[in-house]
């Protein structure tokens, strides 16, 4: 059972991801953060196996948070959650070592496949 940290400013998006991670895949969500800065702190404190990271967030966006998490642990597994058209952000995230991407609106089969793969 893998431990997940969800970082997303939308409570709705966090609930949807938690539902899939816990009820469909049988993993556990050990923390939720509503912006990148809180996400980095929670990563450092909780050491999750996988982080799902929204890109567009207030205070600190997902790109900056990814960078800081990778500085804390270059092996950290981070899945970026993007609105469908954020191509430029995706390129930045790839350069910073993001492991996977999930586009909103969520496509069920691909989200399950990606979460399963990263949780191994």
């Amino acid at each position: 059972m893998a431990k997940f940290l969800i970082v997303d400013d939308s409570t709705t998006s966090r609930k949807m991801l938690r539902e899939i991670i816990e009820h469909e895949l049988g993993h556990i969500v050990i923390g939720e953060a509503s912006d990148g800065a809180k996400g980095v702190k929670m990563y450092d404190a909780l050491h999750p196996d996988v982080v799902t990271m929204d890109i567009t967030m207030p205070v600190m966006d997902g790109i900056e948070a990814l960078k800081e998490i990778k500085e804390l642990n270059p092996e950290a597994k981070v899945i970026m959650i993007t609105a469908a058209g954020q191509a430029k952000m995706i390129t930045k995230a790839v350069d910073l070592g993001a492991d996977e991407f999930i586009a909103k609106p969520y496509e069920h089969s691909s989200i399950v496949e990606i979460l399963k793969k990263l949780a191994l």
């Binding site: 939308s10 409570t11 609930k15 567009t56 967030m57 058209g85 191509a87 609106p105 969520y106 069920h108």
Partner: protein
């Protein structure tokens, strides 16, 4: 779509009353059969499978039928048969009008002809209005001078239909400089081209969107409910951003905002499209060009 389009026309022309249209809508609700229900009736899926697919549908960007096929519960050809049984709202309208004795077949045919003449629809456009999907109908009704804004409105209607309700009615967008409403959720995209997409209206209409998108009851239009509306808008904007990216138009999506008792000022014109979701009015606001000011 047909119930609301033709029904509203009949009310405006004082051919039927609001009460009679409500009766027709009630007939549609009672006689509308969900795909899962038809699948069970036809012994194509078990109740447990229908429940599972319905739960998944609330979480992902897919229709019931797509998930059922993906899961192997339905074959594609079986799904096609079920959809045919489920569709044809025009026929259901005729059946409803006859059953409720609101008008007979000849009267319906005569009023349809008058409606077609009034709006200047071609026979092909009338076929689309009678039998088409929301996508088909929006392609003929939603037109603005900015094709990107038209695309954005059509994406809104498609996703309202997909995630929120199939009881939709909309009118052609109109240009405006300012707009005031008691409740507002919106998001800007800035970059090579600036866009704003917002939903505005009464509490109950925005709550309805929030509840149906998040798949849970929300008693008040509070931060949590607004968040669900904002997330819905974020997804729609993302779909537009994908299309913009294909044309090498680079935009950045800003965090969505919400506000009570607001007025929106647009330097350039914005377009406002009235949409009725289960007869609750939501104004969909969209603009491109100069950024909008929210007060």
């Amino acid at each position: 779509m047909f119930f609301r389009i033709f029904g509203n026309y009949l009310v405006e022309e004082e051919i039927i009353t609001e009460v009679q249209l409500d009766a027709l809508m009630e007939y549609k609700r009672k006689n509308h059969v969900r795909l899962g229900m038809i699948a069970m009736e036809e012994n194509k899926m078990t109740p447990a499978q229908v429940k599972e697919v319905s739960r998944l549908q609330a979480l992902v960007d897919k229709m019931f039928g797509e998930i059922a096929v993906e899961k192997g519960y339905l074959k594609k050809e079986e799904l096609a048969d079920l959809i045919i049984q489920q569709s044809a709202p025009y026929l259901l309208f005729v059946q409803g009008a006859l059953d409720t004795k609101i008008m007979d077949k000849e009267e319906i045919a005569a009023h349809l002809q008058t409606y077609q003449d009034k709006y200047g629809w071609t026979n092909e456009q009338m076929r689309i209005i009678k039998f088409g999907s929301v996508d088909d109908v929006s392609a003929i009704i939603v037109e603005t001078e900015d094709e990107w804004i038209s695309d954005l409105f059509r994406l809104v209607l498609r996703n309202l239909n997909r995630f929120i309700t199939n009881d939709l009615y909309f009118e052609a967008p109109k240009r405006m400089k300012t707009f005031s409403a008691p409740h507002f959720s919106g998001q800007e995209m800035v970059g090579d081209k600036n866009f704003m997409l917002s939903f505005a209206g009464e509490e109950r209409s925005l709550l309805f969107i929030a509840e149906n998108y998040a798949g849970e009851k929300k008693p008040l239009l509070n931060a949590d409910s607004y968040d669900s509306v904002c997330e819905f808008i974020n997804c729609i904007n993302g779909l537009l951003a994908r299309r913009l990216d294909e044309e090498d138009i680079d935009v950045e999506m800003l965090p969505p905002k919400y506000k009570d008792d607001f007025t929106l000022y647009a330097s350039d014109d914005m377009y406002v499209m009235p949409v009725r979701i289960e007869n609750m009015l939501v104004m969909v606001l969209a603009s491109s060009g100069q950024r909008c000011v929210l007060i």
